[in-house]
Every structure is written in structure tokens, then in C-alpha cells.
Amino acid sequence: MNLAYRDVRHNLFRFVLTCLGLSLLMAVVLAMIGIYNGLVSDALNIVKAPQVDLWVVESGTQGPFAEASKLPGGTRDAVARLHGVVAAGSITYQTVEAPFRGDTLRLYLIGYEPGRPGGPDVVSQGRGIEQSHFEIVADVKSGLSIGDVIRLGRNPFTVVGLVEDTTNSGGDPAAFITLRDAQVLQTQLAPAAQRVQEARGAGLLESQDSVAAVIARLKPNADPQAVAQTVQQWKHLTALTQADQESILLLSVVDRAKRQIGLFLGILLTVSAVVIALIIYTMTMEKLKQIATLKLIGAPDRTIIGLIVQQSLALGAVGWSFGLILILLVKDYFPRRVVLEPINAAALAGIILVVCIAASGLGVRAALKVDPATAIGG
């Protein structure tokens, strides 16, 4: 005869309502974990997308994500000739806002050289860029569809392909265009400003042939550190391995957001612990007369402790399960990507287990202090 189960069954509606409240809290905790994972994943996806081993950037910078970096376009040829390099490509990054269907669409534009490293890894719908100009491959989260035309700068671009899970650390969907188009977009002035420049006889403000970084794929047996050291001999360049780049991104770009979310997660878990403790304590206080009766008729302490701890664990388990189901159902509706790994759910289950046992301690303490004499008399 399980007293905890019988009591829950007797007050099923209230128990389910309590679990529902707790599950909403659990869903928020899981959402925070998922958003944090999504943040890291998005940031790393951009770095991992080109599938390269080496990032060559402007000397003294940690570009192109953590800092601005600018290199002459010809750097790519120099890097491509290095021993151990299989392929090299120039790449640019910039954030643009473009009018689209009466709204403003924010895109993280990646300019690359078709046929060289830097383009989309897998095009899930449509095709990759085949023309030299005015074609674009965008992430599905941008809301663009194949055949859509979007104006970037002075020129209309046609969407020819779609990719998935390619956003920057800020959550902006990425879009790929050719390097030439990206360079023009970076340097081209608005018509009025262009006319002013020409009237002054200044021409273009700067050379169009600059890139943010040169990325390189190495032979399987090549040592990235050794190739990086070779690049460093050119004083105007810095070379970062893929691991360095990922580490920089996590430490400098994602770190503050990570700590912010981590702190918020800590507060949420503390609130959850307090809420669980209060629920268990209240449930116990409502049963004091019954607990006194149990003591009076000779029930040992373990029976009373079992009643409280089992209900606490049931509450935690049901709250966690409902919370997990809820977040799995709604995670795709979040504006930012929510990435939940089984280990996250398991870790939260472990935390909730500990919290429930600790929280039930408060109820158990109250129950063990109940005087059986209170069962006698009205």
C-alpha cells in the first residue's frame, strides 16, 4: 500500500495543476539551456561552415568574427602557394539590412569565391551560386524562398538556394553571395554620395579588392600550427588554426552572453528549488493531522518520510517530464535557435532530483516534529 501514490490519486487534480506549474518553470529552465546551446552552436556553425583548417587575418587582430580584419585580395594566392595548403579562398563578412516585402530583413552576408573554400557546405533546397553576380543562397530562417528577389545596395539579387542552421552568434540568418558582389556592396556608395565624391575628384574611397580573411584547407598530414607559423613570418598577417578561431569566438564573442544566460539559469534553478520546497512544505503542512494519526497508530518514521519524499520526487519527475515535452513542442517557435541535447535534460533531471530530496527535507522536518497527541481531540 503506497501512501504517497494514494494521496496523489486522491488529490489528483490539484497534484496535476501543481505539476503543470512546475513544468512551466522546468520548460523555462530548459529553454534557457537550449538558447545558450543554440548561441554557441550558431556561433560555431559559421566558423565550421567553410570546413577549413587555417584562417589568415590582418596582423595583430583576432578577426574576422571577434575583430575587424582587412587583407589585400592578393593574399589568397600567396597562402595557396604555401606548402601543405590544398585550397585557399578569400572571404568577407558583413551585416546588412535590406527591404523585403514591406519589412526590413537583417542578413549576415558571406562573400566567397565560388569553387574555392568559404561557400555553403550543403544546399538543402535549390542550387549553389553559378553566376558571377546577383545570385544569393540564404538560410531558411531568413524567410526567403527560391526565386525571391531582394535588393542589396543598388542591385537586385535572386535567391537560388537555401541552407539550414547557418546563423551568426547574434542569431541573424546568413546568406552567401559572390566575393565580388560582397566587395562592391561593402564599398559602393549611395548614388548621391557617389556624385559628391566624383565632383571632388576623389573617386572611390578605398580599394575594392580587400577581404576579411583568407581561409585554407590543408593536406591531411599537414600540421596547421606549422603552416600558421610560416604565415606569421609575413609581418602583415596573422594565422589562426580552426581550433584557435573556435576558441576565440567562444571566449570573446559568446562569453558575455554565456555568462548572462548562465547567471539567469542559476537564478531560475534557485527559484525552482524554492518553489519545490514551498510546495512540498505546504503539502506536508496540510497533512499534519493525518501524519499525527499515522504516528499515533504506530507508523514508523520511515513510512512518514517515504510519504513526503516519494511525493516530492513524483512532483519533480512529472514537472520535469511535462517541461521537457513542452519545450520540445515549442522550441521551433523561438526567435533564436533552441538546441537541447540529451545530456542537458539528464543534467536537469539530476539537479531536480537533488533539489526535490533537499526540498522534502523541510517537509520531513516538519512532519517528524508533529506531536501524535494532536490527533487526539478536535
Binding site: 500500500m1 501512501l3 494514494r6 494521496d7 490519486r9 486522491h10 488529490n11 493531522k289 493525518q290 494519526t293 499515522l294 504516528k295 499515533l296 497508530i297 504506530g298 507508523a299 514508523p300 518514521d301 513510512t303 506531536d371 501524535p372 497527541a373 490527533a375 487526539i376 481531540g377 478536535g378
Partner: protein, 235 residues
């Protein structure tokens, strides 16, 4: 089952109980002597605050006396050998409680409220259920075995509570206002039932009551006044 009226089941000797110290000291019981024999049904009478419930709690191993000895079914209690868990086990094995407001566990049906005591005493689930049904049938509430306490009438709930008190065949039944929540007809029925059970189970019953209508159902009436027991009037 034969009743041996000479055997003392509850023996309270020179028991005193006080609460607080110094100016705040309250003497709830003063040199109480009480002997209740097998098969006897006795009443503790007295105004509120006279010490009836305190005496019931001392006999029920719920509170320790400040002085004196209590012997329950040949076991001397409160002599430093007893841990609180031992006293709880003693209550489970030897004492049945009947309360003014039945105190059935609201989340168990009638049958399981009775079977719980037997389960706590180590009986198997099957044995506990069998004995619970037997008792409920005997007390004529077997047809309500699956009903939750909230759905039982006052009389039915009190009979289920009596079944629970008797489940483990205790030698001592302590009742706190067992008929206070019942009308006079049902009160008489419940008291007759308790008398019958005391005789059959060779147990003694000590009841606290204010209900004058049932005084004639007791073998002896003990009066408590300011913590002192007068007593043993034949009802």
C-alpha cells in the same frame, strides 16, 4: 474467548505530570492511581482542563509522565529502556485509538484504512485485506469497504475507525469522545459494540467522554478534578 476480570491490563501508579517550571508550572496530573482490568469499559469524566486527555496521552505512550509508573499488559513503560520508536511499536501492537472525529486517512478507502494498521504490523497484503473485510463485516459496514471516508456517514465512519482500532487485536483501546459526533441512538449502538468487543477480545477500554447519555454503558466512572482522580464509581 474467556475474560479474566482479575487481570490488570492498564496499571497507572502514582503518576504525576506537570508542564513548565517555576511560576509557569502547571500540574496536569497529581498522584494518579488507576487499574483497569481485562474486559472492563471505564470512563474518564471531568470538566475541560481537568487532565483527562493528558491521562489518556500518558496511557497511550504519547507523553511521558513526570513521575510514577505505567504498566501496559505487563510491560513497564517509561523506565528509560524505551525509545520513542519502541513506544510507537508498543502502540501499534497493544493499543487501539478511537477519536472524536474518526481521523480516518482521507486518501484511503474504508478497507485500506483498516488494513493499513495490519500492514504496519507486518501482515501480508492478503492477510491484511482479509482481516479488514472481516472486521468491517462484523461492524456491519462491509458494504462500504470501497468508500472513501468523505462519503461515509458519521456512524459509518466511526465504525470504520473502530474497526481500525481493533484491527491488530489490541489489549487496550483508548477512546477520546467516541460518541461526540453521533446522535444518541448511534452513540448507544457504538458503546454497546465497544462493550461487546472488549469482552470478546479480552481487552479493556478507557474512554474520555462528556456524554451523560452513555454513562450507563460503562463499568466504572472515574472523575478527574484539577488533575486528581476520584473514582471508580460503578455506573
Amino acid at each position: 474467548m474467556s475474560v479474566d476480570p482479575r487481570r490488570v491490563i492498564v496499571d497507572v501508579a502514582n503518576v504525576s505530570k506537570h508542564f513548565g517550571e517555576g511560576d509557569a508550572r502547571v500540574d496536569a496530573l497529581k498522584d494518579i492511581d488507576l487499574a483497569v482490568h481485562a474486559g472492563e469499559v471505564v470512563a474518564l469524566l471531568g470538566p475541560s482542563g481537568s487532565g483527562k486527555t493528558t491521562l489518556l496521552n500518558v496511557i497511550g505512550c504519547i507523553i511521558d509522565p513526570s513521575a510514577g509508573k505505567v504498566t501496559l499488559d505487563d510491560e513497564l513503560v517509561y523506565d528509560n529502556r524505551w525509545l520513542r520508536s519502541d513506544l510507537r511499536k508498543l502502540r501499534l501492537d497493544k493499543i487501539g485509538f478511537i477519536f472524536q472525529f474518526h481521523n480516518l486517512l482521507p486518501f484511503l478507502d474504508a478497507k485500506d484504512n483498516v488494513a493499513l494498521v495490519l500492514k504496519l504490523a507486518g501482515k501480508s497484503a492478503t492477510e491484511a485485506q482479509r482481516r479488514a473485510l472481516e472486521l468491517l463485516d462484523y461492524l456491519e459496514v462491509g458494504h462500504r469497504k470501497d468508500s472513501m471516508p468523505a462519503l461515509l456517514s458519521g456512524g459509518e465512519a466511526q465504525r470504520v475507525a473502530i474497526a481500525r482500532a481493533l484491527a491488530n487485536s489490541p489489549r487496550i483501546i483508548l477512546a477520546d469522545e467516541p460518541t461526540a459526533a453521533l446522535d444518541s441512538k448511534r452513540a448507544g449502538i457504538v458503546m454497546d459494540l465497544l462493550r461487546k468487543l472488549a469482552a470478546e477480545q479480552d481487552a479493556c477500554i478507557i474512554a474520555v467522554t462528556h456524554d451523560e447519555k452513555i454513562y450507563d454503558r460503562f463499568d466504572k466512572l472515574f472523575h478527574l478534578r484539577d488533575g486528581r482522580l476520584d473514582g471508580g464509581d460503578m455506573a
